[in-house]
Symmetry: C2
Subunit: 292 residues, 2 copies
Protein backbone atom coordinates (compact mmCIF):
# COMPACT_ATOMS: atom_id res chain seq x y z
CA UNK A 1 0.00 0.00 0.00
CA UNK A 2 1.48 3.32 -1.05
CA UNK A 3 -0.03 6.39 0.55
CA UNK A 4 0.11 8.20 -2.80
CA UNK A 5 -2.71 5.92 -3.90
CA UNK A 6 -5.04 7.96 -1.71
CA UNK A 7 -4.28 11.26 -3.42
CA UNK A 8 -6.44 10.89 -6.55
CA UNK A 9 -9.28 9.52 -4.38
CA UNK A 10 -9.07 12.53 -2.09
CA UNK A 11 -8.86 15.03 -4.96
CA UNK A 12 -11.84 13.51 -6.72
CA UNK A 13 -13.98 13.41 -3.60
CA UNK A 14 -13.11 17.00 -2.67
CA UNK A 15 -14.13 18.04 -6.16
CA UNK A 16 -17.43 16.15 -5.82
CA UNK A 17 -18.22 17.57 -2.40
CA UNK A 18 -17.99 21.18 -3.54
CA UNK A 19 -21.11 22.41 -5.28
CA UNK A 20 -20.74 23.70 -8.82
CA UNK A 21 -24.22 24.91 -9.78
CA UNK A 22 -25.00 28.33 -11.10
CA UNK A 23 -26.52 30.39 -8.38
CA UNK A 24 -26.54 33.84 -6.84
CA UNK A 25 -23.51 33.07 -4.68
CA UNK A 26 -21.26 31.28 -7.14
CA UNK A 27 -18.39 33.67 -6.51
CA UNK A 28 -18.30 32.34 -2.94
CA UNK A 29 -18.23 28.75 -4.18
CA UNK A 30 -15.46 29.68 -6.60
CA UNK A 31 -13.48 31.14 -3.70
CA UNK A 32 -13.93 27.92 -1.72
CA UNK A 33 -12.83 25.83 -4.71
CA UNK A 34 -9.83 28.12 -5.28
CA UNK A 35 -8.32 27.32 -1.90
CA UNK A 36 -9.56 23.76 -1.39
CA UNK A 37 -8.65 22.31 -4.80
CA UNK A 38 -5.18 23.66 -4.78
CA UNK A 39 -2.89 20.70 -4.60
CA UNK A 40 -2.10 20.74 -0.91
CA UNK A 41 -0.14 17.79 0.40
CA UNK A 42 -3.33 16.26 1.86
CA UNK A 43 -1.39 15.04 4.89
CA UNK A 44 -4.39 15.02 7.21
CA UNK A 45 -6.88 13.18 4.96
CA UNK A 46 -4.17 10.62 4.19
CA UNK A 47 -3.82 9.95 7.92
CA UNK A 48 -7.57 9.47 8.30
CA UNK A 49 -7.68 6.94 5.48
CA UNK A 50 -4.56 4.98 6.38
CA UNK A 51 -5.43 4.64 10.06
CA UNK A 52 -8.91 3.57 9.06
CA UNK A 53 -7.40 0.89 6.79
CA UNK A 54 -4.86 -0.23 9.40
CA UNK A 55 -7.62 -0.69 11.95
CA UNK A 56 -9.70 -2.76 9.55
CA UNK A 57 -12.16 -0.08 8.42
CA UNK A 58 -13.65 0.79 5.04
CA UNK A 59 -11.49 3.41 3.33
CA UNK A 60 -14.19 4.46 0.86
CA UNK A 61 -16.63 5.12 3.69
CA UNK A 62 -13.98 7.21 5.49
CA UNK A 63 -13.35 9.39 2.44
CA UNK A 64 -15.94 12.12 3.22
CA UNK A 65 -14.44 12.41 6.72
CA UNK A 66 -10.94 12.69 5.29
CA UNK A 67 -12.17 15.48 3.03
CA UNK A 68 -13.85 17.18 5.98
CA UNK A 69 -10.49 17.44 7.74
CA UNK A 70 -8.98 19.06 4.65
CA UNK A 71 -11.88 21.54 4.57
CA UNK A 72 -11.16 22.51 8.17
CA UNK A 73 -7.45 22.83 7.42
CA UNK A 74 -8.17 25.01 4.37
CA UNK A 75 -10.62 27.25 6.23
CA UNK A 76 -7.97 27.87 8.88
CA UNK A 77 -5.42 28.88 6.23
CA UNK A 78 -7.88 31.30 4.62
CA UNK A 79 -8.72 32.97 7.93
CA UNK A 80 -5.06 33.01 9.05
CA UNK A 81 -4.04 34.83 5.88
CA UNK A 82 -6.57 37.65 6.38
CA UNK A 83 -5.21 41.16 6.91
CA UNK A 84 -6.39 41.23 10.54
CA UNK A 85 -4.42 38.02 11.19
CA UNK A 86 -1.09 37.18 9.47
CA UNK A 87 -1.84 39.40 6.47
CA UNK A 88 -0.24 37.02 3.98
CA UNK A 89 -0.55 37.79 0.28
CA UNK A 90 0.74 34.44 -0.92
CA UNK A 91 -0.34 30.89 -0.22
CA UNK A 92 1.05 27.85 -2.03
CA UNK A 93 2.66 30.12 -4.59
CA UNK A 94 -0.46 32.02 -5.62
CA UNK A 95 -2.43 34.96 -4.24
CA UNK A 96 -4.08 34.14 -0.93
CA UNK A 97 -7.86 33.88 -0.93
CA UNK A 98 -8.59 37.45 0.16
CA UNK A 99 -6.12 38.79 -2.43
CA UNK A 100 -8.03 36.91 -5.11
CA UNK A 101 -11.61 37.37 -3.88
CA UNK A 102 -11.58 40.21 -1.36
CA UNK A 103 -11.68 40.06 2.41
CA UNK A 104 -15.44 39.71 2.70
CA UNK A 105 -15.77 36.70 0.41
CA UNK A 106 -12.61 35.13 1.87
CA UNK A 107 -14.10 35.37 5.36
CA UNK A 108 -17.27 33.68 4.12
CA UNK A 109 -15.35 31.06 2.14
CA UNK A 110 -13.63 30.08 5.39
CA UNK A 111 -16.93 30.01 7.29
CA UNK A 112 -18.46 28.02 4.43
CA UNK A 113 -15.72 25.38 4.44
CA UNK A 114 -15.85 25.02 8.21
CA UNK A 115 -19.58 24.40 8.05
CA UNK A 116 -19.41 22.17 4.97
CA UNK A 117 -17.03 19.86 6.84
CA UNK A 118 -19.77 19.07 9.36
CA UNK A 119 -22.54 18.84 6.78
CA UNK A 120 -20.36 16.36 4.86
CA UNK A 121 -19.63 14.13 7.85
CA UNK A 122 -23.22 14.12 9.09
CA UNK A 123 -25.06 13.83 5.77
CA UNK A 124 -27.72 11.10 5.53
CA UNK A 125 -25.48 9.17 3.07
CA UNK A 126 -22.53 9.34 5.41
CA UNK A 127 -24.62 8.19 8.39
CA UNK A 128 -26.03 5.32 6.34
CA UNK A 129 -22.54 4.17 5.36
CA UNK A 130 -20.57 4.35 8.60
CA UNK A 131 -23.41 4.43 11.13
CA UNK A 132 -24.50 7.42 13.19
CA UNK A 133 -22.42 6.42 16.24
CA UNK A 134 -19.07 6.33 14.44
CA UNK A 135 -19.90 9.36 12.31
CA UNK A 136 -20.82 11.41 15.36
CA UNK A 137 -17.69 10.29 17.22
CA UNK A 138 -15.44 11.27 14.32
CA UNK A 139 -17.21 14.61 13.86
CA UNK A 140 -16.86 15.32 17.58
CA UNK A 141 -13.13 14.70 17.41
CA UNK A 142 -12.81 17.10 14.53
CA UNK A 143 -14.95 19.75 16.23
CA UNK A 144 -12.88 19.50 19.39
CA UNK A 145 -9.57 19.73 17.53
CA UNK A 146 -10.71 22.70 15.47
CA UNK A 147 -12.22 24.57 18.40
CA UNK A 148 -11.14 26.78 21.28
CA UNK A 149 -9.11 24.06 22.99
CA UNK A 150 -7.51 23.24 19.64
CA UNK A 151 -6.75 25.31 16.56
CA UNK A 152 -8.68 28.42 17.50
CA UNK A 153 -7.13 28.54 20.96
CA UNK A 154 -3.68 28.00 19.45
CA UNK A 155 -4.26 30.91 17.10
CA UNK A 156 -5.19 33.15 20.01
CA UNK A 157 -2.01 32.18 21.86
CA UNK A 158 -0.11 33.02 18.68
CA UNK A 159 -1.76 36.44 18.41
CA UNK A 160 -1.07 37.30 22.04
CA UNK A 161 2.58 36.17 21.66
CA UNK A 162 3.32 38.39 18.68
CA UNK A 163 6.51 40.39 19.03
CA UNK A 164 7.17 38.81 22.43
CA UNK A 165 9.73 36.24 23.43
CA UNK A 166 7.84 33.13 24.56
CA UNK A 167 8.97 30.06 26.46
CA UNK A 168 9.42 26.63 24.93
CA UNK A 169 6.44 25.50 27.03
CA UNK A 170 4.17 28.18 25.56
CA UNK A 171 5.44 27.48 22.06
CA UNK A 172 4.73 23.80 22.49
CA UNK A 173 1.21 24.39 23.80
CA UNK A 174 0.56 26.79 20.96
CA UNK A 175 1.71 24.30 18.34
CA UNK A 176 -0.04 21.34 19.93
CA UNK A 177 -3.25 23.30 19.59
CA UNK A 178 -2.62 25.18 16.35
CA UNK A 179 -1.34 22.32 14.21
CA UNK A 180 -0.94 19.22 16.37
CA UNK A 181 -4.60 18.93 17.33
CA UNK A 182 -5.82 18.51 13.76
CA UNK A 183 -3.18 15.89 12.96
CA UNK A 184 -4.10 14.02 16.13
CA UNK A 185 -7.78 14.27 15.27
CA UNK A 186 -7.10 12.84 11.80
CA UNK A 187 -5.54 9.73 13.31
CA UNK A 188 -8.29 9.44 15.89
CA UNK A 189 -11.00 9.81 13.25
CA UNK A 190 -9.50 6.99 11.19
CA UNK A 191 -9.62 4.80 14.29
CA UNK A 192 -13.15 5.88 15.23
CA UNK A 193 -14.49 5.16 11.75
CA UNK A 194 -12.96 1.69 11.83
CA UNK A 195 -14.16 0.95 15.35
CA UNK A 196 -10.55 0.43 16.43
CA UNK A 197 -9.59 -1.18 19.74
CA UNK A 198 -7.74 0.51 22.61
CA UNK A 199 -4.28 -0.66 21.54
CA UNK A 200 -4.75 0.57 17.98
CA UNK A 201 -6.03 3.93 19.23
CA UNK A 202 -3.04 4.34 21.55
CA UNK A 203 -0.62 3.56 18.73
CA UNK A 204 -2.33 6.06 16.42
CA UNK A 205 -2.23 8.77 19.09
CA UNK A 206 1.45 8.31 19.85
CA UNK A 207 2.31 8.37 16.18
CA UNK A 208 0.21 11.46 15.49
CA UNK A 209 1.53 13.43 18.46
CA UNK A 210 5.11 12.73 17.41
CA UNK A 211 4.71 13.65 13.75
CA UNK A 212 2.56 16.65 14.65
CA UNK A 213 5.36 18.19 16.68
CA UNK A 214 8.05 17.12 14.19
CA UNK A 215 6.02 18.70 11.39
CA UNK A 216 6.02 22.04 13.21
CA UNK A 217 9.73 21.95 14.04
CA UNK A 218 10.47 21.20 10.37
CA UNK A 219 8.35 24.23 9.42
CA UNK A 220 10.53 26.42 11.62
CA UNK A 221 13.69 24.88 10.16
CA UNK A 222 12.45 25.47 6.61
CA UNK A 223 11.78 29.10 7.42
CA UNK A 224 15.51 29.38 8.10
CA UNK A 225 16.97 26.93 5.59
CA UNK A 226 14.24 26.47 3.00
CA UNK A 227 14.00 27.79 -0.52
CA UNK A 228 11.24 30.35 -1.14
CA UNK A 229 10.48 29.04 -4.65
CA UNK A 230 10.12 25.43 -3.46
CA UNK A 231 8.06 26.48 -0.46
CA UNK A 232 5.82 28.84 -2.43
CA UNK A 233 6.19 31.46 0.32
CA UNK A 234 8.80 33.84 1.64
CA UNK A 235 11.40 32.51 4.08
CA UNK A 236 13.09 34.27 6.96
CA UNK A 237 9.79 35.77 8.14
CA UNK A 238 10.13 34.29 11.65
CA UNK A 239 13.53 35.92 12.26
CA UNK A 240 12.30 39.15 10.69
CA UNK A 241 9.30 39.21 13.03
CA UNK A 242 11.50 38.19 15.98
CA UNK A 243 9.24 35.22 16.48
CA UNK A 244 10.17 32.58 19.04
CA UNK A 245 10.51 29.27 17.18
CA UNK A 246 12.01 25.88 17.91
CA UNK A 247 15.05 27.07 16.00
CA UNK A 248 15.42 30.26 18.01
CA UNK A 249 14.74 28.50 21.32
CA UNK A 250 16.66 25.25 20.78
CA UNK A 251 19.20 26.20 18.13
CA UNK A 252 19.21 24.75 14.62
CA UNK A 253 21.13 21.56 15.43
CA UNK A 254 19.09 20.62 18.49
CA UNK A 255 15.90 21.32 16.53
CA UNK A 256 17.06 18.91 13.83
CA UNK A 257 17.95 16.33 16.49
CA UNK A 258 14.45 16.67 17.98
CA UNK A 259 12.93 15.97 14.57
CA UNK A 260 15.02 12.78 14.32
CA UNK A 261 13.96 11.60 17.78
CA UNK A 262 10.30 12.36 17.14
CA UNK A 263 10.40 10.52 13.83
CA UNK A 264 11.92 7.54 15.60
CA UNK A 265 9.16 7.69 18.23
CA UNK A 266 6.55 7.82 15.49
CA UNK A 267 7.98 4.81 13.69
CA UNK A 268 8.17 2.80 16.91
CA UNK A 269 4.58 3.67 17.80
CA UNK A 270 3.46 1.79 14.68
CA UNK A 271 4.80 -1.57 15.91
CA UNK A 272 1.36 -2.98 16.77
CA UNK A 273 0.50 -2.73 13.08
CA UNK A 274 3.50 -4.84 12.02
CA UNK A 275 4.47 -4.80 8.34
CA UNK A 276 1.24 -3.00 7.47
CA UNK A 277 2.52 0.08 9.27
CA UNK A 278 5.43 0.53 6.87
CA UNK A 279 3.74 3.13 4.68
CA UNK A 280 3.06 5.38 7.66
CA UNK A 281 6.62 4.87 8.91
CA UNK A 282 7.95 6.01 5.54
CA UNK A 283 5.49 8.87 5.63
CA UNK A 284 6.88 10.06 8.99
CA UNK A 285 10.40 9.93 7.55
CA UNK A 286 9.39 11.84 4.44
CA UNK A 287 7.72 14.56 6.53
CA UNK A 288 10.96 14.93 8.46
CA UNK A 289 13.02 15.39 5.31
CA UNK A 290 10.52 17.46 3.34
CA UNK A 291 11.66 20.58 1.51
CA UNK A 292 8.28 22.28 1.29
CA UNK B 1 -46.51 26.45 29.14
CA UNK B 2 -45.07 29.92 28.74
CA UNK B 3 -42.11 30.21 26.41
CA UNK B 4 -40.42 32.60 28.85
CA UNK B 5 -39.91 29.60 31.11
CA UNK B 6 -37.21 28.45 28.72
CA UNK B 7 -35.14 31.63 29.04
CA UNK B 8 -33.42 30.96 32.39
CA UNK B 9 -32.75 27.36 31.28
CA UNK B 10 -31.11 28.59 28.09
CA UNK B 11 -29.08 31.28 29.84
CA UNK B 12 -27.81 28.86 32.46
CA UNK B 13 -26.86 26.22 29.93
CA UNK B 14 -25.08 28.73 27.67
CA UNK B 15 -23.11 29.87 30.71
CA UNK B 16 -22.20 26.26 31.54
CA UNK B 17 -21.14 25.40 28.00
CA UNK B 18 -18.62 28.19 27.75
CA UNK B 19 -15.32 27.35 29.39
CA UNK B 20 -14.14 29.63 32.19
CA UNK B 21 -10.74 28.26 33.17
CA UNK B 22 -7.58 30.30 33.33
CA UNK B 23 -5.47 29.58 30.30
CA UNK B 24 -3.25 31.19 27.71
CA UNK B 25 -6.24 32.07 25.52
CA UNK B 26 -8.69 33.40 28.08
CA UNK B 27 -9.10 36.67 26.22
CA UNK B 28 -10.63 34.66 23.39
CA UNK B 29 -13.01 32.93 25.75
CA UNK B 30 -13.91 36.30 27.27
CA UNK B 31 -14.71 37.57 23.77
CA UNK B 32 -16.96 34.57 23.13
CA UNK B 33 -18.75 35.09 26.44
CA UNK B 34 -19.13 38.82 25.74
CA UNK B 35 -21.26 38.20 22.66
CA UNK B 36 -22.98 34.96 23.61
CA UNK B 37 -24.11 35.90 27.13
CA UNK B 38 -25.58 39.17 26.12
CA UNK B 39 -29.27 38.88 26.62
CA UNK B 40 -30.36 38.16 23.09
CA UNK B 41 -34.02 37.27 22.61
CA UNK B 42 -33.08 33.57 22.26
CA UNK B 43 -35.75 33.11 19.61
CA UNK B 44 -34.02 30.17 17.93
CA UNK B 45 -33.25 28.07 21.02
CA UNK B 46 -36.81 28.66 22.21
CA UNK B 47 -38.10 27.19 18.95
CA UNK B 48 -35.88 24.12 19.32
CA UNK B 49 -37.16 23.46 22.82
CA UNK B 50 -40.83 24.13 22.20
CA UNK B 51 -41.02 22.02 19.04
CA UNK B 52 -39.21 19.26 20.88
CA UNK B 53 -41.80 19.44 23.66
CA UNK B 54 -44.75 19.64 21.26
CA UNK B 55 -43.53 16.51 19.48
CA UNK B 56 -43.18 14.61 22.73
CA UNK B 57 -39.42 14.93 23.22
CA UNK B 58 -37.27 15.60 26.28
CA UNK B 59 -36.67 19.33 26.61
CA UNK B 60 -33.68 18.94 28.96
CA UNK B 61 -31.94 16.66 26.45
CA UNK B 62 -32.58 19.18 23.68
CA UNK B 63 -31.04 22.05 25.65
CA UNK B 64 -27.43 21.65 24.36
CA UNK B 65 -28.81 21.67 20.81
CA UNK B 66 -30.82 24.78 21.49
CA UNK B 67 -27.67 26.44 22.81
CA UNK B 68 -25.72 25.30 19.74
CA UNK B 69 -28.16 27.20 17.51
CA UNK B 70 -27.60 30.34 19.58
CA UNK B 71 -23.82 29.88 19.22
CA UNK B 72 -24.18 29.73 15.45
CA UNK B 73 -26.43 32.80 15.48
CA UNK B 74 -23.94 34.70 17.64
CA UNK B 75 -20.93 33.72 15.52
CA UNK B 76 -22.74 35.04 12.45
CA UNK B 77 -23.40 38.37 14.17
CA UNK B 78 -19.74 38.73 15.19
CA UNK B 79 -18.48 38.02 11.68
CA UNK B 80 -21.16 40.22 10.07
CA UNK B 81 -20.13 43.16 12.21
CA UNK B 82 -16.45 42.95 11.15
CA UNK B 83 -15.01 45.91 9.23
CA UNK B 84 -14.70 43.86 6.02
CA UNK B 85 -18.42 43.02 6.25
CA UNK B 86 -21.06 45.44 7.63
CA UNK B 87 -18.53 47.34 9.75
CA UNK B 88 -20.93 47.84 12.63
CA UNK B 89 -19.62 49.41 15.82
CA UNK B 90 -22.69 48.65 17.90
CA UNK B 91 -24.54 45.45 18.65
CA UNK B 92 -27.37 45.16 21.17
CA UNK B 93 -26.50 48.60 22.47
CA UNK B 94 -22.83 47.96 23.27
CA UNK B 95 -19.60 47.91 21.27
CA UNK B 96 -19.54 45.10 18.74
CA UNK B 97 -17.10 42.27 19.39
CA UNK B 98 -14.25 43.60 17.27
CA UNK B 99 -14.64 47.05 18.83
CA UNK B 100 -14.24 45.48 22.26
CA UNK B 101 -11.58 42.83 21.51
CA UNK B 102 -9.98 43.72 18.17
CA UNK B 103 -10.61 42.24 14.75
CA UNK B 104 -8.29 39.28 15.17
CA UNK B 105 -9.83 37.98 18.39
CA UNK B 106 -13.34 38.72 17.11
CA UNK B 107 -12.68 36.61 14.02
CA UNK B 108 -11.47 33.76 16.23
CA UNK B 109 -14.36 34.19 18.68
CA UNK B 110 -16.73 33.65 15.76
CA UNK B 111 -14.77 30.63 14.53
CA UNK B 112 -14.68 29.31 18.09
CA UNK B 113 -18.44 29.61 18.60
CA UNK B 114 -19.17 27.97 15.25
CA UNK B 115 -16.99 25.02 16.18
CA UNK B 116 -18.21 24.84 19.78
CA UNK B 117 -21.76 24.43 18.49
CA UNK B 118 -20.81 21.13 16.85
CA UNK B 119 -18.65 19.94 19.73
CA UNK B 120 -21.62 20.61 22.03
CA UNK B 121 -24.15 18.70 19.94
CA UNK B 122 -21.87 15.73 19.34
CA UNK B 123 -20.30 15.41 22.79
CA UNK B 124 -20.33 11.95 24.36
CA UNK B 125 -22.86 13.17 26.96
CA UNK B 126 -25.15 14.54 24.30
CA UNK B 127 -24.95 11.32 22.25
CA UNK B 128 -25.68 9.26 25.34
CA UNK B 129 -28.77 11.34 26.14
CA UNK B 130 -30.51 11.70 22.79
CA UNK B 131 -28.85 8.89 20.83
CA UNK B 132 -26.30 9.25 18.04
CA UNK B 133 -28.90 9.04 15.26
CA UNK B 134 -31.03 11.95 16.45
CA UNK B 135 -27.99 14.00 17.51
CA UNK B 136 -26.36 13.56 14.10
CA UNK B 137 -29.60 14.42 12.29
CA UNK B 138 -30.05 17.61 14.31
CA UNK B 139 -26.40 18.60 13.85
CA UNK B 140 -26.70 17.99 10.10
CA UNK B 141 -29.71 20.28 9.90
CA UNK B 142 -27.81 23.01 11.71
CA UNK B 143 -24.70 22.56 9.53
CA UNK B 144 -26.81 22.76 6.37
CA UNK B 145 -28.67 25.85 7.51
CA UNK B 146 -25.46 27.61 8.55
CA UNK B 147 -23.54 26.70 5.41
CA UNK B 148 -23.19 27.83 1.82
CA UNK B 149 -26.77 26.98 0.88
CA UNK B 150 -27.92 28.73 4.03
CA UNK B 151 -26.56 31.63 6.06
CA UNK B 152 -23.16 31.88 4.39
CA UNK B 153 -24.68 31.83 0.90
CA UNK B 154 -27.23 34.45 1.96
CA UNK B 155 -24.42 36.68 3.23
CA UNK B 156 -22.63 36.40 -0.10
CA UNK B 157 -25.82 37.40 -1.97
CA UNK B 158 -26.06 40.34 0.41
CA UNK B 159 -22.45 41.40 -0.29
CA UNK B 160 -22.91 41.17 -4.04
CA UNK B 161 -26.16 43.16 -3.83
CA UNK B 162 -24.68 46.08 -1.96
CA UNK B 163 -25.53 49.45 -3.44
CA UNK B 164 -27.62 47.76 -6.14
CA UNK B 165 -31.36 47.63 -6.59
CA UNK B 166 -32.40 43.97 -6.26
CA UNK B 167 -35.63 42.20 -7.14
CA UNK B 168 -38.13 40.93 -4.59
CA UNK B 169 -37.17 37.41 -5.69
CA UNK B 170 -33.48 37.97 -4.91
CA UNK B 171 -34.32 39.66 -1.62
CA UNK B 172 -36.49 36.73 -0.63
CA UNK B 173 -33.83 34.15 -1.53
CA UNK B 174 -31.26 36.18 0.38
CA UNK B 175 -33.42 36.35 3.48
CA UNK B 176 -34.51 32.73 3.29
CA UNK B 177 -30.85 31.80 3.43
CA UNK B 178 -29.49 34.55 5.68
CA UNK B 179 -32.07 34.41 8.44
CA UNK B 180 -34.84 32.02 7.45
CA UNK B 181 -32.65 28.92 7.23
CA UNK B 182 -31.56 29.06 10.87
CA UNK B 183 -35.11 29.58 12.11
CA UNK B 184 -36.27 26.66 9.98
CA UNK B 185 -33.39 24.53 11.25
CA UNK B 186 -34.36 25.33 14.85
CA UNK B 187 -37.87 23.98 14.29
CA UNK B 188 -36.54 20.95 12.42
CA UNK B 189 -34.00 20.21 15.14
CA UNK B 190 -36.70 20.22 17.80
CA UNK B 191 -38.63 17.71 15.70
CA UNK B 192 -35.56 15.55 14.99
CA UNK B 193 -34.62 15.39 18.67
CA UNK B 194 -38.14 14.29 19.57
CA UNK B 195 -38.34 11.75 16.74
CA UNK B 196 -41.38 13.60 15.37
CA UNK B 197 -43.67 12.12 12.72
CA UNK B 198 -44.18 13.47 9.21
CA UNK B 199 -47.25 15.54 10.08
CA UNK B 200 -45.53 17.21 13.03
CA UNK B 201 -42.48 17.97 10.91
CA UNK B 202 -44.61 19.53 8.15
CA UNK B 203 -46.42 21.70 10.66
CA UNK B 204 -43.13 22.86 12.19
CA UNK B 205 -41.69 23.69 8.78
CA UNK B 206 -44.69 25.73 7.68
CA UNK B 207 -44.70 27.64 10.92
CA UNK B 208 -40.95 28.32 10.81
CA UNK B 209 -40.93 29.45 7.18
CA UNK B 210 -43.75 31.88 7.85
CA UNK B 211 -42.29 33.45 10.99
CA UNK B 212 -38.80 33.49 9.41
CA UNK B 213 -39.98 35.71 6.60
CA UNK B 214 -42.22 37.79 8.86
CA UNK B 215 -39.27 38.33 11.21
CA UNK B 216 -37.20 39.77 8.37
CA UNK B 217 -39.96 42.02 7.08
CA UNK B 218 -40.45 43.36 10.62
CA UNK B 219 -36.70 44.07 10.77
CA UNK B 220 -37.02 46.20 7.66
CA UNK B 221 -40.07 47.96 9.05
CA UNK B 222 -38.25 48.68 12.32
CA UNK B 223 -35.35 50.19 10.42
CA UNK B 224 -37.86 52.75 9.15
CA UNK B 225 -40.21 53.13 12.10
CA UNK B 226 -38.23 51.83 15.05
CA UNK B 227 -36.61 53.69 17.90
CA UNK B 228 -32.80 53.54 18.00
CA UNK B 229 -32.67 53.43 21.82
CA UNK B 230 -35.14 50.51 22.02
CA UNK B 231 -33.41 48.67 19.18
CA UNK B 232 -29.91 49.24 20.51
CA UNK B 233 -28.73 50.16 17.01
CA UNK B 234 -29.06 53.03 14.58
CA UNK B 235 -32.18 53.18 12.40
CA UNK B 236 -32.56 54.48 8.86
CA UNK B 237 -29.41 52.67 7.73
CA UNK B 238 -31.21 50.78 4.95
CA UNK B 239 -32.50 53.93 3.30
CA UNK B 240 -29.14 55.64 3.83
CA UNK B 241 -27.36 52.74 2.09
CA UNK B 242 -30.05 52.64 -0.63
CA UNK B 243 -30.67 49.04 0.28
CA UNK B 244 -33.57 47.18 -1.31
CA UNK B 245 -35.85 46.03 1.51
CA UNK B 246 -39.39 44.73 1.81
CA UNK B 247 -40.37 48.25 2.69
CA UNK B 248 -38.67 49.81 -0.34
CA UNK B 249 -39.95 47.10 -2.69
CA UNK B 250 -43.47 46.60 -1.36
CA UNK B 251 -44.16 49.90 0.40
CA UNK B 252 -44.68 50.24 4.14
CA UNK B 253 -48.38 49.35 4.19
CA UNK B 254 -48.06 46.26 2.00
CA UNK B 255 -45.08 45.11 4.06
CA UNK B 256 -47.19 45.38 7.21
CA UNK B 257 -50.00 43.50 5.51
CA UNK B 258 -47.56 40.70 4.55
CA UNK B 259 -46.49 40.38 8.19
CA UNK B 260 -50.14 39.97 9.19
CA UNK B 261 -50.74 37.29 6.57
CA UNK B 262 -47.59 35.40 7.45
CA UNK B 263 -48.44 35.49 11.13
CA UNK B 264 -51.87 34.09 10.30
CA UNK B 265 -50.25 31.32 8.23
CA UNK B 266 -47.92 30.51 11.11
CA UNK B 267 -50.76 30.28 13.61
CA UNK B 268 -52.79 28.06 11.29
CA UNK B 269 -49.82 25.75 10.72
CA UNK B 270 -49.90 24.89 14.42
CA UNK B 271 -53.37 23.32 14.24
CA UNK B 272 -52.09 19.72 14.45
CA UNK B 273 -50.76 20.55 17.92
CA UNK B 274 -54.17 21.71 19.15
CA UNK B 275 -54.26 23.70 22.42
CA UNK B 276 -50.63 22.85 23.09
CA UNK B 277 -49.62 25.05 20.15
CA UNK B 278 -50.96 28.19 21.78
CA UNK B 279 -47.64 29.39 23.16
CA UNK B 280 -46.03 29.28 19.72
CA UNK B 281 -49.05 31.02 18.21
CA UNK B 282 -48.68 33.84 20.73
CA UNK B 283 -44.96 33.85 20.03
CA UNK B 284 -45.61 34.40 16.30
CA UNK B 285 -47.93 37.28 17.15
CA UNK B 286 -45.41 38.84 19.53
CA UNK B 287 -42.66 38.64 16.91
CA UNK B 288 -44.94 40.46 14.50
CA UNK B 289 -45.57 43.28 16.94
CA UNK B 290 -42.05 43.49 18.41
CA UNK B 291 -40.40 46.88 18.86
CA UNK B 292 -36.81 45.65 18.97
Amino acid sequence: MKLDTYLPMIEQKLEELLPKEHCRYERLIEAMRYSLLDGGKRVRPTLVLEFCRLCGGDVQAALPFACAVEMIHTYSLIHDDLPCMDNDDLRRGKPSNHKAYGEDTALLAGDGLLTLAFATMLSPESLATVGAGRAAEAAFQLASAAGIHGMVGGQEIDLRSEGKAISLETLQEMDEKKTGALILASARMGCALAGADERQRDAAEHYARAIGLAFQIVDDILDVEGDAATLGKATGSDAENQKSTYVSLLGLETAKQRVKELTHTAVRALEPFGEEGKALADFAKSLASRRS
